[in-house]
Every structure is written in C-alpha cells, then in structure tokens.
C-alpha cells in the first residue's frame, strides 16, 4: 500500500498535499464553480465535436459511395476497382478525404481511451515511490477515472441545492460559494451504478439513504469554508485504491474514503452506523466487486492463451511420449483446466508465487502442508490454470500437470510397488510431466511385501531420476509420517500454506458466491456471506476455512434456488448452521425468548424449593444467550453443593427437559467412576482407541448441550485440574489430540462435599450466605483447589428440604404415578394423607428425598399393581387412594 504523508498546503491550490518518497501528490480537482463549469463545458464540447466528427465519417462514406457510383457510370467497373475515383478531383472525393482526416482523429481518440496505462499509472506508483530518484509531482485528480471525476464534480451541484434549500428555510440569501460537505459527495456517489450495487449487496435502498442524508445535512445548518477533513478525501481514496492495486481511483474508492472524513456532525458515521456498514465491511465489498472485475479479465486472458496448449499427451516441443499408465492412474489437470472443467481457483496467488520461487531456486519437488479445506486443492487448481495458459516460469512451461490417483494404484489388485515404479518411469521418460500426489502420507502407510513403504520407493526413485513432484499433506500427517521418513526432506522442500485472514476468507467466499449466483440464479446478501464465515468458524469444528463456509454457502444457494425470492439472507445461513450443529440459531426465536424469560417459573413446577439455585441457573443462561457472556468460556458453569437428595441433579434434568427439549442434549457423568489413576484416560480416551469416550462423542455431536458431573469431588485430581482449563478456556483436548469446543456447553457439577457443615449450619440457624462463607473458608479447600472454585460462574449451596417441601416432592412423585396410571386408562387421585405418609416414612435426612421414589414403588405401586391384576382397576376407572389406619384403601 502507498504510504502517504498528508500535510496542509500552505501554498496555492487544494488545502492538502501529500508525499511518498520522491513523489509529491497534489490535487487539481478543486470544487470551485469556475473550474467545474469549465470542465463540464470541456466535456460537452468534446462530446459535441465527437458527434460532428461521427457525422463527417458518415458523410465521407456516403461521398465515397457517390464518387464510386459516378465513376462507375462514367467510366465503368474498372475505374472503380482500380480505385481511380479516389484520386480524381471531385467534390465527393474532397469530402471523403476530409472525412478521412476526421476518422484518423476519431481513431486516435479510440486508441487513447483504450490505452493500457496512464501517464501516472496508479498501479506502479507504490513501487516508484520506493525507487524514484528524481522528484515527480502527480495530480491525484488525474488518477480519477471518468465516473469518479463526474461524481466528484457533481457534489458541487448537491452543495448548491443544499444552499438554496437552506436559504429558503432561513429566508436569507447568501452570495458566498456553498461549502462542499462529505454528504454532498455521498449524494453524488449514490447516483453511480457501482456504488448503488454495493448498497444493493447489503440490502439497503439507495433512495432511502439519499433521503436520510439530505435531511441530516439540512439539519446540520450552515457551514463556512472548505473543511480540512473533506480536503483529505482524494488522498484517502488514493490509499484505498493502492491497497487493492487498482489502476485508477473509481467511485467505490471515494466511497471507502468517506468514513475517514469525520465531519462536525458525524453525519456520514451516523448514516453508515444506521445501515450497519462499517469501514471494514465497505472495504470488503469494494474489494469483492473489484476482484470480480479482475477475475473476468483474467478469464478472458486465460481463454485466449489456453488455446495454444496441446490437449494430447504430446507437448509443443514434440519431446514427450504417450503415457499409458499415467493416463490410467492419473488425471491430467492442465487438460481439465484448458476446458475450464476445474473449479475456478482464487485466493492462493501469493502461495503460488512462493512455490515458483522454491521451484526455480533448486530441487523442484515441493510438499505443501495445509489442513484439509484450507486451500491445498485450490492451490493445485490455480497452478493447473496457470500452466494451461503458460503463465508460469520456464521450468513449468510446455508441461502437463498430472495428479496421481494413489487409490487407483493401491486398489488395482496388482503389485503396487512395480505399478508405482512403472508409472513414475513413464512420467520421467515423457519428460513433460509435473506429478501431483495429494495426501502423500498415504504412501507412507502402504507397506509392500519387501518391507518398504511406497513412500520409501518414491523417495529412492526421485533421488536417482529427474522428475518434478508436488505433494500435499496436512501439518499433522507431515509430522507423524513424513518428517522422519529417510531422506524425505532432502528430496522434498516443505512449504506451509499461509493461513488466510478473515478478510481473505471472506473475499474467497464472495467470489465463490458470484459463481454460485450465476449457476443457481440467486443473490447473496453480503451479510449472509459474513454470517457463513463467522458462524461456521465458531460452530463448525473439525473442518477448516474456507471449505466449511463455502459448504454452507453452496447449500444456501441450492435452497435459495427453490425459494420464491431467491435471496440468500442471514436467516437462511443461521438455519443451515443450526441444522448442521444442533446449536440454536444466533437470533433467538420467540419461543426460546419466552422460555428464557420465565425459566424460574417453568423450573419451579418441577423443582421444589432451592430458589437460589434455580435463579442462578436461569440468570446464567439468560446472560449467555443474550450474547453478553464471554465467548471464550463455557456457556455457563455451576457448582451445586449440598446433602444428597435435595434436588441438585433434578435441577439439571429439569433444565435439560425444559430448555433443551430433549434428553439427548444432556450427558450425565458419575465422576466417582473417574476416581482412579486411569480416570483421565477413561474420560478423554487414548490415541490408540478406536471409539471416542462418552464425553468426547457427546461434545462432538452436540456442542450445545448440558454436561452434568455428579459427585464431582470424587474425580481424580488430574480431572479436577483438567477442568481448570475447561472452565477458563472452554476447550478440551481429547486423548486423540482433537480440540473440542465447550463454549456452547452448560456445565453443572454437583457435590456432597461439606454436607455435614451445611446441615450443622442449618441446625444452628445460620443463613445460607454464612454457611457458604464457612464452607469456602474451612471445608471446600480440602476437596477443590481455590482456583477451581473461582472459575465457576456460581457456587450454590442447597439446604436440606423442609417438611413442607418434602410433602411437595412426594406429591410430585405421586403425580408421576398418576401419569403412568393414566396411560393405562385409570384416573387415580391420591389424598393428602398418602402424601404425608410418604413424606414421613420415606424421607431420610441422610439420603434426602431420594428414598421417596423407592418408597412409592415398594408400597403404592405394589398396591396398585395388585388391584390391576385383581381387575379392581381397569380402563376407565376413576378412583381415589387414601391412607386409613396405616393401610391404603381404594375410595
């Protein structure tokens, strides 16, 4: 990018000037009425002259025809065919020759218009600013293209209109020249088609924006003098254009420069904020439109140059031979590229240049390291396109890029060793082959009868033969299989694919979307593409960018094709990602909002007492789903402490049922099973295990879930330490080295630690807060390190249930029995005596409410079962079960 030092101009001319190296930048496009009028007049007269000259051209042709006709009549055909009529002295010939002169002028104008570069070529300015020895002055206005000049000059018109409106409003006339504001330039730019297409991409109407801007700028009132920051716009636009290596400053570059012009009333910033158009977004869309234009030019150039590439096995130099084995076990990528059968590749031009440098520097064999979906195949395809049009260094020219199908060789049923060698020999003998081996690490795994792997055979072959091989692999597989293979790094030069930045990924997706739009007859809103990149980054694990974003966009295009409006919006992208990951879409749906707002009430119907715990969980979940929670930690994490059977696990189950809606989102782990020294292996697995452990499998399948860790204090110390990382970073590394994302997981750990202290505290009449403080100070340190306790969002102390609460629990359990009987067609009611009996006899202070279920099962269910078998209860019965004199009676 051009580095400009912008400064105030103390001399004549535009208030600003800039410098970069030895090049001084001035601006000759001041917005004084005189200059603008002169330029408009110049353009008008030029157009008029052109019209006159075109008329003369037509007149000349007619004169030529007339001269030929008259000559033919007078002297016959020979006079015409010998061209004598052109050289005779006649009015027609005279008019014809005059028109020829004007034709030459028109031709000169046409050549000038199509000239490759300008005198001050913007694209070369950056380089010249470093290398320039002589001082040079460049007028930035001359770097504007015609539409940009038109838009720039028209901003005066809007300023004059604004002044007239203000004069009407304030009922005063002004003789001063109107001040040009950034809003005037914006209104002028909104009339340009490329600017309009940018706003169209974000789903905003240009008319609405223009209306808002006009109203704002009127409200802003009167201004005097040219504002300094407005004067900076041309230079900012120059920098924007140099960022993209644009050949000229076009209206989109002026638009990108606008937000940097901070006017007193911040109108531009307010308007752009209102339509959610940040500077970054503006630049990204402008870059998209620019690169789309470039892609068109590249494809046109490619189609011209690729015509010369032979599409048989024989090269232009006639040195190669047919390759029978290679054709059977390989795929000619240059031939596919010549006929545009490969996906259009974009985004790896920089990596391709680096590869050329490596290839021309020494041994041509390269191994490209990059994860699946990060662009390895794109790089190979881009190379194929370049080779098809011979836009490559000489070592790659007049050659075929052939991809070796390893699976074909391995699955051929023949001796793979001899097949591979035969294929390689053929490639060498042909002399015009560049071989591509994707996932070369697979060769390391294929061991032949001789004990050597196919990779060893390949390396041995390449050490003694002249053949260029380009291989690909992942970073992990390179480390595991290739780096330590004998002589591998002597034969292959490693090259690691550059990680694309978010904006580069966006650009690659935008270009791909342009192709999808043509194929599927749909339209992508820019925000939808942004969502696809951002949400797939966050929610889709195990794949790389830009592959995962592109997969979402391809699916979105296919769905939009079937839809009536054919527009891919953010909502569609969210739906697709939500379906893929089982994570609720980012925008809260109405029913989920209602659930979150009334969560305490909904949970209270099933959880008796423990208001503090229910409130803590509800508030934590509301915080997380409203977007306020930090994205780097689990959704929410709680530690529930209390005696057994008081509702700790029940809260978790209730939450899973109410909020997640299905059991499959809840994973309950009894941490006492992970107590021993092998606890961590049991939890996370090992690299040599085939299957994933329950927690790993669950998180992979349902990243948005509830993880219930019962009896947390019984887990081994290694596991406790593991949760330090999980609660801090929201990630977990499995035994196989996979990194799992727990930032959408709700974690609830339950523990009986300190139960005795809690019960003692209750007996002493202490408040829950005091009991909690005592626990923290005296007891909990024996079970959990303080840093772990601090990482939980809330530590909730559960008190033992009161008698009333036990009765309510009994009633709830009886309601469960009622539901079971209802399924058999029996409507049974239980009196309060029954509930009290259960509460008194079943509750155990040591075991809490847990035995209630067993008591009901042993006594009531047994009673009901007997009645059912005796046919005293049948379908349609409505009964009341009471307790009389210690026995259950049917009423």
């Amino acid at each position: 990018m051009l580095e400009l030092n912008i400064e105030k101009n103390s001399g004549q001319g535009w208030p600003m000037k800039a410098a970069s190296g030895k090049i001084a930048f001035v601006f000759g496009g001041n917005l004084e009425a005189d200059r603008v009028s002169k330029e408009r007049l110049k353009v008008f007269l030029e157009n008029t002259l052109l019209a006159v000259l075109w008329s003369l051209l037509v007149l000349g042709i007619l004169s030529l025809a007339a001269a030929a006709y008259l000559g033919f009549n007078a002297w016959g055909m020979a006079y015409v065919t010998e061209g004598k009529f052109l050289f005779e002295s006649s009015s027609y010939a005279f008019v014809f020759w005059i028109s020829m002169l004007t034709n030459l002028y028109l031709w000169a104008k046409y050549m000038e218009k199509n000239a490759d570069g300008r005198d001050a070529d913007l694209a070369s300015l950056e380089e010249r600013s470093w290398q320039q020895v002589k001082e040079e002055t460049v007028d930035v206005y001359e770097l504007f293209d015609k539409p940009a000049k038109k838009a720039w000059n028209n901003s005066l018109k809007f300023a004059q209109k604004r002044q007239r409106d203000l004069e009407k409003l304030f009922n005063e006339k002004s003789n001063e020249a109107p001040q040009i504001l950034a809003t005037d330039l914006l209104l002028s730019l909104l009339e340009n088609t490329s600017v309009a297409s940018l706003f169209y991409r974000i789903g905003v109407s240009v008319k609405d924006v223009a209306e808002v801007v006009k109203n704002y700028s009127l409200l802003a009132g009167k201004h005097r003098g040219l504002m300094e920051n407005f004067a900076q716009i041309p230079f900012s636009a120059l920098q924007e254009a140099s960022k993209l290596h644009n050949k000229a400053i076009d209206p989109l570059m002026l638009l990108c420069a606008l937000p940097s012009c901070i006017d007193d009333e911040h109108i531009i910033q307010a308007v752009f904020l209102n339509i959610n158009l940040s500077q970054e977004k503006l630049e990204n869309i402008a870059s998209w439109l620019f690169h789309l234009k470039l892609l068109g030019e590249d494809l046109r150039l490619f189609s011209r140059l690729s015509k010369f590439k032979p599409d048989s096995d024989i090269n232009t130099g006639l040195t190669s031979v047919p390759t029978v084995f290679l054709d059977r076990y390989g795929q000619d990528l240059t031939r596919l590229a010549k006929y545009a059968r490969l996906p259009v590749a974009l985004g790896r031009a920089h990596d391709l240049k680096e590869m050329f440098k490596i290839a021309t520097a020494g041994s041509g064999n390269i191994v490209v390291k990059g994860d699946v979906g990060s662009g390895r195949t794109t790089l190979i395809n881009e190379l194929a396109y370049k080779m098809a049009s011979e836009q490559v260094p000489s070592i790659y020219q007049d050659k075929r890029l052939v991809k070796l199908e390893i699976s074909g060789i391995l699955g051929s049923g023949q001796k793979t060793e001899s097949l591979l060698v035969q294929t390689l020999k053929e490639a060498v003998f042909s002399g015009n082959i560049i071989l591509v081996i994707e996932d070369i690490h697979e060769l390391a795994k294929a061991v032949t009868a001789s004990g050597l792997s196919l990779l060893d055979i390949l390396i041995n072959f390449l050490q003694s033969h002249q053949l260029t091989v380009i291989a690909t692999t992942s970073v992990e597989d390179y480390t595991e299989h290739l780096r330590d293979a004998p002589n591998f790094e002597q034969v292959f030069n490693p090259y690691e694919l550059r990680h694309l930045s978010r904006n580069e990924i966006l650009l690659a997706c935008c270009i791909r979307c342009s192709l999808l739009e043509a194929h599927n007859d749909c339209l992508f809103k820019y925000q939808a593409i942004e969502q696809a990149v951002d949400l797939s980054d966050i929610y889709i694990r195990g794949q790389n960018q830009p592959q995962k974003a592109i997969a979402v966009l391809v699916e979105a295009a296919a769905r939009a094709k079937q839809a009536p409006h054919k527009i891919v919006t953010e909502t569609l992208i969210q739906e697709i990602i939500s379906e893929k990951t089982h994570i609720p879409a980012q925008t809260l749906k109405e029913d989920e909002t209602e659930k979150l707002l009334h969560l305490e009430e909904l949970m209270g119907r099933r959880v008796i007492g423990q208001r503090a715990a229910v409130t803590a969980v509800a508030e934590g979940l509301r915080r997380a789903r409203s977007g306020l929670a930090s994205g780097a930690r689990p959704l929410a994490s709680f530690l529930f402490l209390g005696p057994t059977g008081v509702g700790k696990t029940e809260i978790a189950r209730t939450l899973a049922d109410i909020y997640f809606g299905e059991d499959r989102f809840l994973l309950r782990l009894d941490m006492s099973e992970y107590h021993g020294p092998d606890g961590i292996t049991k939890l996370l697995g090992r690299s040599d295990m085939d299957n994933d452990t329950p927690i790993v499998r669950h998180i992979k399948n349902y990243p948005f879930c509830l993880l219930l860790l019962d009896e947390f204090e019984k887990a081994s110390p290694e596991i406790t330490n593991l949760f330090l990382q999980i609660l801090e970073d929201g990630r977990l590394t499995s035994g196989k080295g996979e990194v799992l994302d727990l930032t959408h997981t709700l974690i609830i750990a339950t523990s009986n630690a300190g139960s005795t202290d809690i019960q003692d505290g209750i007996r002493q009449g202490l408040s829950i807060d005091r009991i909690k403080t005592r626990l923290f100070n005296q007891t909990l340190n024996k079970f959990f390190p303080p840093e772990l306790l601090n990482r939980f969002d809330a530590v909730v102390v559960f008190s033992p249930l009161t008698q009333d609460e036990i009765e309510q629990v009994s009633l709830l359990q009886l309601q469960a029995l009622q539901k079971e009987l209802l399924q058999k067609g029996v409507k049974a009611n239980f009196t309060i005596n029954v509930a009290r009996d259960v509460a008194q006899n079943a509750y155990d202070p040591a075991l809490g409410a847990r035995p209630i279920r067993r008591y009901i099962q042993d006594h009531l269910e047994a009673f009901v079962a007997k009645l059912l078998l005796q046919k005293k209860l049948k379908r349609g019965s409505i009964v009341t079960i009471d307790l009389v004199d210690g026995e259950y009676r049917l009423g």
């Binding site: 110049k42 007269l45 030029e46 002259l49 052109l86 050289f87 002295s89 010939a93 005279f94 020759w97 005059i98 020829m100 002169l101 030459l104 002028y105 000169a108 104008k109 050549m111 000038e112 000239a115 490759d116 011209r304 140059l305 015509k307 010369f308 024989i314 090269n315 232009t316 130099g317 006639l318 040195t319 190669s320 031979v321 011979e390 020219q397 007049d398 003998f429 042909s430 002399g431």
Partner: protein, 111 residues
C-alpha cells in the same frame, strides 16, 4: 491529447509520438501472440532433443532433419505474421501524410 480544442491541431504530433508508441505496443502484442500460437520459442528450446524421446542414432538423425523442417515452417509462419502486422505499422505511419497530401491535392485541383 490533453487540451481541447487543440487536439485536432496537435494530431500530427500525437500521431508520431504517443500514437506510434501505442501502435508499436499493439504490434508487439500481436506478434507475441502469433509467436505463441506457432510455439516457435518453445520448439526452438528443444532443438537439440530428439523427437518423442527417441535417443537412438537413427532417431537423432531423423529428429534433426524433421526439427529443421518444422522450425523452418514455424519460422516462415511467424515471419509472415511479423510482416502482416508490420504492414499495419507501415500503413499507420503513411496514413496521415497520405491523407494530408490527398487533401492538398484536392484543394489545389479545385483551385
């Protein structure tokens, strides 16, 4: 071609400076394209290699003569392209004076 309305008057100067440069660049592009289509440079690079990897003595001898023949053919075709496009260059150079001469001729004859 910067200043209106002097363009018509500066046409002759423009024609033999900036215009000629543009036409020369066009000529170079067209001839490069023509050379690429014949593959002359690529073919010449492999001049001393036998055709189709035939490294036998007879193959080398045959390749040499065949390559000479093909090279001559490609050179002829490339040469014709150079001449063909060169003609445009010559026509361009002669066109303006020719037109001016004819106009003067017409004026003198009418006078």
């Amino acid at each position: 071609m910067q200043n209106f309305p002097l363009n018509l008057l500066t046409l002759p100067i423009w024609w033999y400076t900036r215009g000629l440069t543009m036409v020369w660049r066009w000529y170079k592009r067209r001839t490069n394209f023509a050379l690429q289509s014949t593959g002359l440079a690529l073919f010449a690079r492999h001049m001393w290699e036998p055709l189709y990897q035939d490294y036998t003595r007879s193959g080398r001898i045959l390749s040499f003569f065949l390559r000479i023949a093909v090279l001559l053919y490609k050179t002829l075709v490339s040469g014709l392209s150079l001449v063909y496009y060169g003609l445009f260059l010559v026509v361009y150079a002669c066109l303006l004076p020719a037109v001016l001469v004819m106009i003067i001729f017409q004026i003198l004859n009418h006078a």
